[in-house]
Symmetry: C2
Subunit: 220 residues, 2 copies
DNA sequence: GTCGAAAGTGACTATATAGTCAATAATGAC
DNA sequence: GTCATTATTGACTATATAGTCACTTTCGAC
């Protein structure tokens, strides 16, 4: 049983990860999972750049060689984590009640981001770090942009029912940027001087205002 | 003439940087400036963690030892840059026309952020990176938080004239977080899929809506 | 011009990290 | 059980970076 070092979802063809059947496959899956969750912890604690492979394998309680059997380098495991996090966030966005108004839809989007932020602070930090890779290194960026585009597309498809035919994709993209920016930005800045409960009570009235602004922007 | 390696504004007492008088002082000032601007470039290109001292000194066309004569390490020069950037941003915020309405004040805040973003993309990236140091390493964080607090206070003092007496500081702080979050977040995300002109046309209607919502939030 | 003091230099050392690989352990097929 | 296959290991090498320091250059006082 050989593991393709770069055999993850990010290489064009999506690999169907069929359920592990025997002990070896289970062990491999368990090892990969340990590595991924250790990397997530370490990346969000120290930052992606500052984190070392040794940090990851020590946190995972595995030998260093094992890391290189599963991932070719730090960028690859980072890519997998970004993918995972975005999928989780998109999953939350998808399950929306039918027959919702546009305000409902917007509330839903913001609430789901908030929930994601509360439940997955490490992933939240990771996504924001990933976001900022943008200007940092073009090579990593291009590899990174694809999952973010899927994220924007998820927001767009949620909102397209409410949007007039004439509104072009660019306009919706702008809108998605604003939502993502507001939600991520608010929580990011809120972290500086606010306790968790404060964030909750603080975001509520702002969220209402924001929803009003955005819906009037969309239907205009 | 001796340079205190940690003799910058960040250590409690604010040092008055009197104008250089002789050639030596001019040379020192020039060297420091070269180091700072090289560091700014390098940090925003590669990321603070990934950037090395050699990157900085090579970019500045100076010997490595010179760096250590002016700054004790990377964190210190980073601190100076954050300070500088925040000061620049606060400076922009301050010069507001007297007799402005609350909508004017909000517009002004958002416009100044936008201008800062356009004119100082490197600083913008740096501040956002600094912002995220939060969860990454507590030691660096505490050193970092002080300028961000000054930033929040600048926003608060701009808005306090319009706010009812009963509104407590915490509430205003929340508001400042939301504004900063929205503006920084929007631009950060906008970078992913938008050209510069698109950002400008994209932000405009959102800004108007946002201002309306926020002012009603403040005066309520 | 001379001289003392401070700024600037870059080769050097010490250290930390990435990535390798020969050896070991676990597993499945028979 | 035996054996072939493959996952796992961690000591090892190669390399990159932080930080130092003896030396050179620049400057100002006289």
């Amino acid at each position: 049983m050989t593991i393709e070092p770069s055999g993850n979802k990010r290489d064009g063809i999506v690999e169907i990860p069929r359920k592990p059947v025997n002990r070896t496959e289970k062990r491999v899956a368990k090892t990969q999972k340990k590595l991924l969750s250790a990397a997530l912890e370490v990346f969000s604690e120290y930052g992606v750049d500052a984190a070392t492979i040794d940090d990851i394998t020590q946190r995972a309680d595995l030998g260093k060689g094992t890391f290189y059997r599963h991932f070719s380098d730090k960028a690859e495991i980072m890519g997998c984590l970004i993918d995972q996090a975005i999928e989780k966030l998109i999953g939350k966005l998808r399950n929306m009640d039918a027959g919702a108004t546009i305000e409902d839809a917007l509330e839903h989007i913001i609430n789901m981001h908030y929930q994601f932020f509360l439940e997955n602070q490490e992933e939240f930090i990771l996504l924001f770090q990933g976001r900022l890779f943008l200007k940092l290194d073009r090579r990593i960026t291009e590899q990174m942009e694809e999952p973010f585009n899927r994220y924007f597309e998820a927001i767009e498809s949620l909102l397209s029912p409410y949007v007039s035919e004439k509104m072009d994709m660019l306009r919706i993209r702008r809108f998605a940027c604003a939502v993502a920016g507001f939600v991520f930005g608010f929580f990011s800045f809120a972290m500086i001087g606010m306790e968790s409960e404060e964030i909750e009570t603080g975001i509520k009235p702002l969220r209402q205002s924001f929803v009003k602004s955005l819906s009037s922007f969309l239907v205009q």
